[in-house]
């Protein structure tokens, strides 16, 4: 009896693979779509920063004339946080042979790099350490059929802002997920930058969103000020850090502007939408025929200041008037 079932299942699987209308993905996009440009975007998990970057890429492409549905066919797929699914998406996209592959996040970029094997140009975004992740040979000259943008940000301006708002600060607390490659790279960079500003680092880690509050509490006695890197685990629970900051009068700084809207005192903006736009610009250059090997990895050089006045008062910080004037956005 099971033989029949097996046969039925095998048949279903074969149909799935080969023939059913609407079920079958396009095989070779270049052959089929004619003048349409094909771009495939994948990312490891749905997350506000990743979504913003994706939107930036798509908007930039549209502005350069690659409008979805008109001149551009866009394929977007999320791996839902699963590495094996990311592998499958990467292979599927590589098999479609689009004009360009876009990966947002480190694991997605690594999966595409492996699946495309140099045959299809790749642009990545939101990768903090492209050299350490072996995506490129160097930031200046990537060398392979792959380049992109890094979300590594210089900590200098942020540290300067912290000293300006909290002059007495000696100990800088940082909360991050030690399991995120991006965060570890940021903390390393932060360590290197601290000495110039007379600050010492106090670390606290949280491997899950639920642990962020405790991590913040553990810093309350140790740190004069808390800085949150662009860490998806911690940013997801930024409110619990803000709570601790308000109660213990420890100013909380963030690295992304969205967190300021959610209660952080201030951030020198890391706007993933802008990073996405930058990525999109590189994508356009590659679509127009440039080789990724020679396009240096991009980083954002403009930073926007976001300030939260309510939090400033609650955390015992007085914001000078000139700073308020230079701020891109002030949240009351």
């Amino acid at each position: 009896m099971f033989r029949q079932k097996l046969a039925a299942c095998a048949a279903a699987a074969l149909l799935t693979m080969t023939g059913l209308p609407g079920l079958d993905g396009p095989n070779d996009l270049n052959a089929r779509a004619g003048e349409m440009t094909n771009v495939a975007i994948t990312y490891i998990v749905d997350h506000p920063a990743i979504d913003a970057a994706r939107k930036g890429v798509v908007d930039e492409l549209a502005e350069a004339g690659y409008k979805e549905g008109e001149t551009l066919t866009l394929h977007v797929q999320s791996a839902q946080g699963s590495m094996p699914t990311q592998l499958q998406i990467a292979k599927k996209f590589a098999g479609m042979r689009p004009d360009l592959l876009v990966a947002i996040s480190t694991p997605s970029a690594q999966a595409l790099q492996s699946a495309a094997d140099g045959k299809i140009p790749i642009v990545f975004s939101a990768v903090t350490d492209p050299v350490g992740s072996k995506l490129v040979k160097s930031m200046e000259a990537p060398g392979g059929n792959i380049t992109g943008t890094s979300d590594r940000q210089p900590f200098g301006p942020t540290l300067k802002l912290i000293k300006q708002l909290v002059p007495k600060a000696k100990k800088l607390g940082v909360i991050y997920n030690a399991g995120e490659a991006n965060s570890v790279a940021q903390v390393e960079a932060l360590k290197a930058a601290l000495a110039d500003y007379g600050l010492e680092l106090e670390e606290s880690t949280a491997s899950q969103t639920a642990m962020v509050g405790d991590a913040a509490l553990s810093l309350a006695g140790r740190a004069d000020v808390i800085l949150i890197p662009t860490d998806s685990t911690v940013v997801a629970a930024i409110e619990s850090v803000v709570n601790v900051g308000r109660k213990a009068k420890v100013p909380v700084f963030a690295s992304d502007t969205d967190s300021v809207k959610r209660g952080a005192l201030a951030a020198l903006g890391f706007d993933y939408y802008k990073l996405g736009r930058l990525t999109g610009k590189m994508a356009v250059r590659i679509l127009k025929g440039e080789s990724p090997a020679e396009i240096p990895v991009g980083v954002l050089d403009t930073q926007d200041l976001y300030l939260n006045k309510t939090s400033a008062a609650a955390m015992g910080v007085e914001v000078p008037g000139d700073l308020l004037e230079t701020a891109t956005k002030v949240i009351e």
């Binding site: 097996l6 592998l87 499958q88 292979k91 098999g95």
Partner: protein, 310 residues
């Protein structure tokens, strides 16, 4: 679906058939719901990645990954039989601890193996099957492991292991040490999972500390689909079911990834997984009980609990 997409589904399926074999040993043969696998999978990957980056022969590095997975299993086994911690909890404790251990092993959350020599490298020139090379190598490994498990379960120790899992009282009366069998079984189970993690890292070119998420669910889904198709009583069929189930499961995912198919999109993947497993369970109940009726069972399953009278 392109040939590359099919090869991707096949590759992931064959990799996870090793997880399914491991889950079969723990969940079915030993009756030990072991959740260690979410940690031993990345551990196998981490150990192998570190070994390869430090210049170790990839074949040896793969064995290292397998042993690392086995060691993690042994820890869960010891927690359960020596310290009398509930089996479910023992696995969870090890899994949680492994997150930190994996970070320590790698020294950072992500190690890329891109461009390194892996066990697949020599076969690229030796076999020259193009995009199918990895699949062929993995198929050989998966089949080898299937037959190894079949053989092991037919040996004296293997028979004792099966008896211990199904009927510990009887096993003890036949001088089988249940504690020892639990430790042996969970060690072997996680060694298979560690091997899967090791091979995954090498075929993907990356070991990531968060790559273990959902390993157990995928393994269980594969196991249950296999059981639904081939039955679960005869060892050889059950292990074959692990292979077929894992590959089929990955093809279901591939189908779901093809946006437009029944309106399912990538964001519905987790729902697809849950439905696939639920349907497989319902079907396997139907197999066991010939008088089983699908609709009454579904109605029962979804019916709200009736308020008690009186």
């Amino acid at each position: 679906m392109s040939a590359l997409a099919i090869s991707g589904a096949l590759e992931a399926g064959l990799l996870f058939s090793l997880v399914a074999l491991g889950v079969y040993l723990s969940f079915r043969v030993l009756n030990f719901p072991d959740l260690t696998v979410d940690g031993s999978f990345p551990l196998g990957a981490a150990a192998t990645a570190v070994a390869i980056v430090n210049g170790m022969n990839p074949f040896l590095a793969t064995v290292v990954g397998m042993f690392a997975g086995g060691a993690a299993g042994l820890v869960s086994g010891i927690l359960n039989v020596r310290f009398r911690i509930l089996n479910l909890l023992a696995g969870i404790l090890t899994m949680v601890a492994l997150y930190s251990i994996n970070l320590r092993v790698m020294g950072r959350p992500n190690i890329s193996l891109y461009g390194e020599t892996t066990i697949f490298t020599p076969f690229e020139t030796l076999l020259d099957f193009g995009i199918w090379t990895n699949c062929v190598v993995l198929l050989v490994i998966a089949l080898a492991m299937k037959f190894l498990v079949d053989w092991f379960l037919s040996t004296q120790i293997g028979l004792a292991l099966r008896a211990s899992g199904e009927n510990p009282v009887m096993a003890r009366a036949q001088s089988v040490g249940n504690a020892r069998m639990t430790m042996i079984g969970i060690t072997l189970s996680n060694a298979l999972v560690g091997l899967a993690g090791s091979l995954f890292a090498q075929s993907q070119g990356v070991a990531d500390v968060s790559m273990g998420i959902g390993t157990i669910v995928t393994g269980l889904a594969a196991l249950i689909i296999g059981e639904t198709l081939l039955g679960s009583i005869k060892v050889a069929w059950a292990t074959l079911g692990c292979l077929i189930g894992a590959v089929l499961y990955r093809f279901f995912i591939a189908a779901a990834l093809n946006a437009g198919f029944l309106g399912i999109e990538a964001q519905d993947l987790n729902l697809v997984t849950a439905v696939v497993v639920a349907v497989a369970v319902v079907l396997s109940q139907a197999r066991r009980n010939s008088r089983f009726r699908l609709w009454p069972a579904l109605r029962r399953a979804f019916a709200a609990p009736q308020p008690q009278k009186g």
